[in-house]
Point group: D2
């Protein structure tokens, strides 16, 4: 007879469990509807003008005249309508959107790339604001959180290093040494997203402060203003040839960069602890948006398949194409349910307990979405790799997600380890250093 | 800008939609708990005795002395405790278990193979009883439904034919011709599951009555008592070498088999229509049980991986094994959510509208479960293919499911077609003849 | 008992068959060694200078001062050393390199991108020269073949159209109508590789001249000088954001383009016939180079895997990475043998009989090479998608090959059809319009 | 510029290298033709009679009257015609069939299962005879090799143990202790193929004699007559429910089994060394036969696809089936070339240097052949899993090969390690204990 193993129990397979209620709450409905309308009626037309203005601009790493004004106007409108900073729980009551509710809203945000910024809900600012809100000193909050919450400046998160395998979060090479009340920082970071934007003023920077401490207590996170002497932006990193100006994924060298001792976040050796805090609604953004990308790719695939003929039939009906379309639909629905369940798990079990769900969806979604976009490319023939469809851009974006915030392999290690652990008292642990940035 | 395509709407991606509430109902809780307890406390020990009695039996195609008595006793107990026929909605009020609730209960039924029969909820009787309940004449109900509901006899469903591609339900070769108030039936059927059981008395048989009618009106379903003259059981079909005696998947020849005109179900040419009725809770059984099999395979895989060492490490931690385990867990959770959503869709949208969900899970689940079992086999080395684990039996069972009730390819055709159809007024339709048996 | 089926025979499985001798010929050895040395000692250093000169150039769609001089110098050197046009069989004797010998040499050519051009063996000139050599009139040869053979001009092949599924070669939309002794051409072509180069003077253009003829007699190939009135280069098509200037994959509109009647190649309605002639050594280039790309990706993958550590081990040894490396090696060797066998088959059986082998390798190689490069990217983490490795460029190049010269699906259709055909007298033929360009 | 890496060199990519000449030798032609004729004219009809005689036999673990006589007659005929023991190189001159020539002959042997035995070329006898030939003492040869060479007895090779991961050949649990001039052996072995045959008289048994020696010097191989006291055959192991009587894959317990000290092969602690000797033509058998199985599966797949219709078309032409057929053909050809190349590598480089080629084909072939057979099953619908085609037997046979002689994973580890090693001075070695049995 088959017995119920611990594994099953661990995945909350209790029929009546609220984990299985994946509906958006009644409470969030008005906000959801409002965001949807605002994206459609305000952000979308603004966005079109914004991009038109930018097309001929002289400096790809800056903004064209009128662009920022347009953006500010929309941001002010969002503030006025109360669509501002809703990613962040109330500082005093702790109340805010549930992860599940936010997941549904993220789909709407994902429909126009500028929407998140207009409502001040865009990465990596969201994660940075959360961290400052939770562990910042009053001075740090006044100096950096306030302008961030007001949308006056932007920020970056400097974690990945060019000469280390970042899949292991213990692999931090950049050193920070305390000298005369100042942290002196040396090293290199790369793929610092958003650091190319002229409005980016502050970086939360992961450094190694305590090389002799136990592995998980060696790292710290420090606030480094981007204009500090010794911070040298070497150039933008490309993603399949694209530099993503003016946002940019910058390569930065730190040479004897000095910041006041008080720029330390939370305390020396507590960098890991802070990373755990970065587990908020932001995480769900990416996966819900990836699913949005997959929907779009499937939509383009079918439309193309019906608009071209070969060998006397529409190509959607040729060979294995119907099955490719079927598998895309099935997997999109399965991924959507998994992301919603992960969001719900965070709401009910808390970030710590729900962690394996988050790793599951991060391991599952971008890999499969890449494949669906790739199949859409194939259905388009040469047009699929061209500038005439968004597919190649979508592909490279999703391809990068299979590496960013931990490569697929690391997420599978965590999920597999979690499964195995239920059968042992302990065992080999290869992956204890896994953290994510967002 | 990405717009909401019809496809998305069609998949009910409305955040507040009850389709996304996958919890078992409060109402079903007592039954669920009762079944769970009954399986554990009554069926499981009975089952062990039953199989022991059968081991040395002279006639593999019959039962050993004492076996049927044991079974009857358990069935009486189930009746007494009210755990009987609960698969079937109330004949008058139409009330019954929702598909979602039944899906959760099916998991418990699946834990001991005899449990379904003990509670009179085993295929193909369930589907046959549903059909008789809905379309049977008073005489047909009296003669066949009553003893089936009482668990006095068993039944079979004769659809698949050896010389036709059964993936296309229009491919019925067996003819039935009306002569002097009797249907005269000629042809062959195979893989008639359950027809080997000495208690099997009646077959619902798919025949071609109207070869000149439009394709979907050519077929009929007729009641054929298994002891009718001309019904010749040629032998059992094997499944990877296994004959599954005494249940059996029989190969049957019909030579001038004559049954009264009144044995026709619903009416001449309405065989397809009846097939649509066979869309009940039974459908969800298989997929929920498949997931149970995957859970069991994963459980065995991990246990084995921790009990053997090679090259100085437990094999669960070697090479790609952790990732294999991770992918199994992720896909099991995704499949479970999909099956539950399909059940819920049937409850809310009705069988017709929910049809594509059912095809999605049938296309998705057995294929992936086969692969998980196969990986568990590989983790066991030679023991994995041996009689020392249930894995090879589990594999061949699941492998067969990829063919039974329509091969994977047909389900993908339906799902892909549904996706494509949303973009056209109509278009080529290759798969209109798809029906399932259960 | 298993009998020898026609299929086996058809694949030449005769143990002593010379098809199985995949060694380069003795005869070709001196040329092979010479090319190898020339690429290493002459082309490689020239190439470095060439690219340095081009870096700052004002016009991306032209050449920087000194670039073409450098190239001409190397070409003259190649001519002087007898390393010129060796892709082409002797016009009179028909003697030339075998496909197998050329395949081995192509590997060496592939090691430095400029090498082919320096020895006048680069696509699409090679195919165009072959066609002119075989079917050109004396006037056509004098006017276009001579300067091509001398490396004085370059050429293009205009086949693909933006609004047709080019997988079906019958799908030619561009019309050519004879008026007063001139062909008047109207339509659009895109992905015309090489048409961006200022030295490109002539295009062989696929047109539809006879819409009422049987499908395979409707098309013709016509010589169109690129500076003819009405030829409008609309712009470069991108490949994953890359425009490949100044070579370019151009989008060209033809509006009432008039060329003399004598520009027709071979004869009206014989466009297909000419396409069959384009089956020469050029075809093998791509696949041998793809394998070279896979070798390089594997090399980079292993080096990276040994240069980074995570969780206390070099990442090459982590998780499933060793198996990924193993599978890459195995598949590279298998692909190499298949390409060599295809080349040998062309040598022994002739292009027509060997056709299915060519389709087999075209269907097999680019798909798998894409995957190997993708795995190398993953092993590199963020660096893998950056400008710091050639991997993203390699990927997009190979990805495009899965579409160019017929998408994978079409090659599989031809191979599968060939297999099925051996069992039938005829049957449905979906793919008779398949031709390749090169 | 791409440079030639050591890896490429290591794979002998020298165009003129004889490694690339995969033709059977002229010398072997007469034998090849003779075997082919003999299998067709003599073995095939005998085989049919043999199986007919066996059908009703009382003892499944013995032979029916007349069966062995029939076999002996055919064996005598083979001897008379000189078709006997040709797997074995001449004891004095060392001359014999090359591996490549033998590979081609193995295809013919594989066409009728009894053919190998009739010509005394069947496993595991071939490997055992080779070992005895090379390392046996005169007494051992007289006692065991002679009757084996004469086909008077049969033998087994006892290596795998039920409670160890046999993927690591150092995992030998069975102990042999020297007491008073006798080895006393205790432990269990399973999957001892051929030990069920009443003619099996001797087992070469892998034991651990020196637990304190370095890992690769702890094992020894000892001759154990199957009728020695203490050898207890517990029963046959099943393979997907099949026991393969009377050959059998036996589970055997050794309890204080005593054999003379002189039964040791080669010397104490030299068990590994002997395993290296077992690298002979036998290895190639399996892979060539697997390819034969794939050919047969593809043949059945296409025939079925042309004999059934659904949705108005033959199913071979439906959906992705043409592509499935194409991929099967492509992979069969690629596998065939790889196996031939591995055979040639053994001939030219010697077993030691060619080792990685052998691991490559063992990792590559059975996995893919399983998949092709599985696809043939799917094309057959329910008939595919039934007793009406050989497919389910073929599947389980190939599935087992993915485990036997080392699971796929171990072969990939060896191949991947070999690739990585070319870049390092040494590095982590997980797999040094890999040996094969055959």
């Amino acid at each position: 007879m088959n017995t119920i193993t611990p594994a099953k129990a661990a995945f909350g397979f209790d029929p009546k469990d609220d984990l299985n209620d994946l509906r958006m709450s009644e409470k969030a409905t008005p906000l959801y509807e409002h965001v949807k309308r605002f994206v459609h009626e305000t952000v979308a037309p603004m966005s079109e003008k914004f991009h038109k203005l930018g097309e001929g601009r002289a400096d790809r790493w800056g903004y064209a005249p009128g662009q920022l004004e347009l953006l500010e106007e929309a941001k002010n409108q969002a503030k006025k309508e109360g669509l501002w900073n809703f990613f962040l729980p109330d500082a005093e009551t702790g109340e805010g959107l549930s992860n599940l509710d936010y997941a549904y809203i993220a789909v709407e945000l994902g429909k126009v790339p500028l929407a998140s910024e207009v409502m001040n809900c865009s990465a990596p600012d969201t994660g940075n604001m959360e961290v400052l809100e939770r562990v910042g000193t009053p001075e740090q909050k006044e100096r950096w959180l306030k302008p961030l919450l007001n949308g006056e400046i932007r920020s970056a998160f400097a974690m990945t290093e060019p000469d280390r395998a970042s899949s292991d979060a213990k692999n931090v090479g950049m050193s920070a040494v305390l000298e005369n009340g100042e942290w002196v920082i040396n090293g290199e970071k790369y793929y610092i997203s958003g650091a190319g934007d002229p409005r980016c003023k502050i970086m939360i920077t992961m450094v190694k402060t305590s090389p002799d401490a136990p592995p998980s207590r060696q790292q710290s996170q420090i606030l480094v203003p981007i204009d500090t002497a010794g911070v040298e932006i070497l150039g933008p990193m490309h993603v399949f040839g694209e530099d993503d100006a003016p946002h940019g994924h910058m390569h930065i060298r730190f040479t004897n960069v000095r910041v006041p001792e008080s720029n330390m976040l939370l305390g020396e050796g507590r960098g890991f602890e802070i990373s755990q805090l970065r587990l908020g609604p932001g995480r769900i953004h990416h996966c819900m948006r990836s699913i949005g990308q997959a929907e779009r790719a499937l939509d383009l695939m079918v439309r193309r398949g019906l608009s071209r003929e070969a060998f006397g039939r529409k190509i959607a009906w040729l060979g294995g194409n119907v099955e490719i379309i079927s598998r895309a639909r099935i997997d999109i629905e399965a991924m959507r349910l998994m992301v919603l369940k992960a969001a719900k798990a965070m709401d009910i079990l808390g970030n710590r307990e729900a962690r394996v769900w988050v790793h599951m969806v991060k391991a599952m979604v971008p890999e499969r979405v890449c494949q669906i976009i790739d199949q859409a490319i194939q259905m388009h023939g040469a047009t699929g790799v061209s500038q005439w469809t968004p597919l190649s851009r979508m592909y490279t974006g999703q391809r990068t997600l299979r590496i960013a915030d931990g490569p697929d392999e690391v997420h599978h290690l965590v999920v597999g380890r979690n499964e195995i652990r239920q059968y042992e008292g302990g065992g080999e642990d290869q992956t204890s250093g896994v953290v994510w940035r967002n």
